[in-house]
């Protein structure tokens, strides 16, 4: 039993044109790099994306004109810095479909966001015998915290299996999500298979049983218009660096009433109301969860990334990626020996395309492609359990973003054909 997403394709005239893509490419200084005579072809976007000039400049600008520690500062720079920092929070709240800014917590990335929930909500709410439901396609970031929490609390970790073509297998879902389920922690989009999971349906089912739902949006938020309220999730995590923004910034969205009940995470300055040697009270949301000096400059610059994405439009971005993903899958499938993992229907998936070669280890593929100036990733992609489920020791993964074009894919395909000759296959 699989569920499918219904997508209205964008009318042709509102799609990104090759000229627009060229203009977008021109915004990314790194794409002008020539490495050993090869133009850089960057297809490792699921690991991290490149940054447009506006984001890079936003960082410099911040340090050249506004840098100060935020909050409580009564001088001009500090007030400006605080304003800019909070401006990103409001922007992110809108970007996530219109949540309250106090529900937006800045973290280092998705990993810290999920750990925050595990250390606070999890520590407080998971008890012996409770069940935590994950899927077989989770990234370690949405897996290891729950494996360890379950161990600590003597709770039970249950998993939703996957079908051979990389969808969640919901055949026995009613035995998996039950009244004992306390948490459903699920990837919105798989970083290995590309699968877009039906978070809304599963969240509704989990909520029927009173469970809390966390979605790992590290891969989805960069590529889809996300509305966390419509998804019906209680927590949503994402990373700035995977969506054109700086490294060192992530977001945890949390439902206000849950956040309010949770104990704080990093203890120190900024997150307190009052401190005595024998008693401490906490600041209001969202500050309660932002102890210590945050990554101010990069939070400020993340605003530029969100703005850049909105200027393109998430629906046009998505359509471009679907088109390019379809093209990539077609071309890859035609190469002998290459096997593609995950859904083949582009409506059901993003542009992280894992593949294997019958005769070559993904590391050899990656090393070979690198020599041609093509950056992909090879390995377990922080999803070792999924690798075991797939029966692969590793995969190669080409992952696209809005600045990739057919020329990039053509270069990849040409190189892969050359590779098989090079290795005498």
């Amino acid at each position: 039993m699989e569920q499918k997403i219904q997508n209205e394709p964008l009318p042709l005239r509102s799609r990104l044109t090759p000229i627009e893509i060229e203009r977008i490419r021109a915004d990314f200084p790194i794409l002008e790099q020539v490495i050993d005579g090869n133009r850089l072809i960057y297809l490792d976007n699921a690991a991290t994306t490149q940054k447009p000039r506006v984001v890079i400049n936003a960082i410099s600008d911040y340090y050249r004109k506004y840098n100060a520690n935020i909050h409580r500062g009564l001088h001009y720079l500090s007030e400006r810095a605080t304003e800019m920092y909070e401006h990103t929070r409001e922007h992110a709240a809108r970007f996530l479909g219109g949540v309250d800014p106090s529900e937006v917590i800045f973290t280092r990335g998705t990993t810290e966001a999920i750990n925050l929930v595990a250390y606070t909500w999890g520590e407080q709410n998971i008890r012996e015998g409770d069940e935590i439901v994950i899927t077989e396609m989770e990234h370690h970031a949405n897996l290891v915290p729950w494996v360890q929490l379950a161990k600590r609390k003597h709770a039970v970790l249950k998993r939703i299996p996957i079908t051979p073509d990389g969808y969640l297998d919901l055949t026995n879902i009613n035995e998996i999500i039950t009244p004992r389920t306390k948490l459903l922690a699920i990837s919105h989009m798989s970083n290995v298979l590309g699968t877009i999971n039906h978070v809304a349906d599963l969240a509704a089912k989990a909520h029927e049983h009173g469970a809390v739902v966390l979605a790992d949006g590290a891969q989805a938020a960069p590529h889809l218009a996300v509305d966390v309220k419509a998804l019906g999730v209680d927590f949503y995590a994402l990373s700035s660096h995977k969506m054109l923004g700086p490294t060192g910034v992530g977001i945890l969205y949390g439902r206000r009433d849950l956040l309010q009940e949770m104990p704080p995470f990093n203890l120190g300055g900024e997150m307190i109301r009052e401190v005595r040697f024998d008693n401490v009270t906490w600041a209001d949301l969202p500050y309660k969860f932002e102890g210590g000096t945050p990554n101010i400059a990069d939070v400020v610059a993340f605003d530029a990334a969100l703005h850049y994405l909105e200027e393109i439009g998430m629906d046009r971005l998505r359509q471009h990626e679907m088109d390019l993903t379809r093209y990539t899958i077609e071309q890859l499938s035609a190469i002998p020996g290459i096997e593609i993992q995950g859904p083949k229907e582009v409506e059901q998936r993003g542009g992280a395309i894992s593949f294997t070669d019958a005769d070559l280890h993904p590391h050899d593929i990656s090393t070979y492609l690198d020599a041609k100036g093509i950056a992909i990733r090879a390995g377990h992609h922080c999803a070792q359990p999924l690798m075991r489920v797939l029966g692969k020791i590793a995969t190669a993964r080409a992952s696209i973003y809005v600045y990739n074009n057919e020329a990039d894919i053509n270069a990849l395909i040409k190189a892969l054909r050359g590779m098989r000759r090079y290795f005498g296959l």
Partner: protein, 157 residues
């Protein structure tokens, strides 16, 4: 690009990768040892038959990249017929060579020299090491009367 491809994938290495030696299973073995590099997914099974202090025969099954397969194959080819002491010494030299220390290979083993190229691809060194470390570990366990060894070369990530 990190370094010219051919520096790593030399002819000798490609030959071992395409037709790995030591793939014949052994009916009786004196020790066996397993190696794994979880981050690569590499898995290596190694079995050894000894006779009068000599490596009589060796079986290596490596699921991994060209480098780990070739390196395992070269190990099989090299140590077969050597005395235990000699095999150990060679494994030690290869280890040192891969780690960039000054190490002199015996003249008759210059094929192993082709592994040098791997050093230009630092993340792949552990692939080349896997078979040798697994062999040494198995041998040591055997000599100390332990059971089956389990090894990885990812100690230093």
């Amino acid at each position: 690009m990190s370094a010219p491809l051919d520096d790593m994938y030399r002819d000798i290495i490609m030959d071992h990768f395409r037709s790995p030696r030591g793939r014949k299973q052994l009916p009786v073995v004196d020790f066996s040892s397993n190696g794994r590099n979880p981050s690569c997914g590499d898995e290596l099974k190694l079995q050894v038959k000894l006779e009068d202090g000599i490596v009589k025969d060796i079986y290596i099954d490596c699921q991994g990249c060209a480098i780990s397969i070739a390196s395992g194959s070269m190990l099989a080819e090299t140590v077969k017929g050597k005395s235990i002491a000699e095999a150990k010494r060679i494994a030690e030299v290869v280890k040192q060579m891969l780690k960039g220390e000054n190490a002199e290979l015996p003249n008759d083993l210059e094929d192993l020299d082709s592994l040098q190229g791997v050093r230009k691809f630092p993340v792949r060194i552990k692939c080349a090491l896997l078979a040798w470390v697994t062999f040494m570990e198995g041998l040591e366990d055997y000599e100390h009367g332990h059971g089956e060894g389990n090894v990885t070369t990812e100690e230093d990530k």
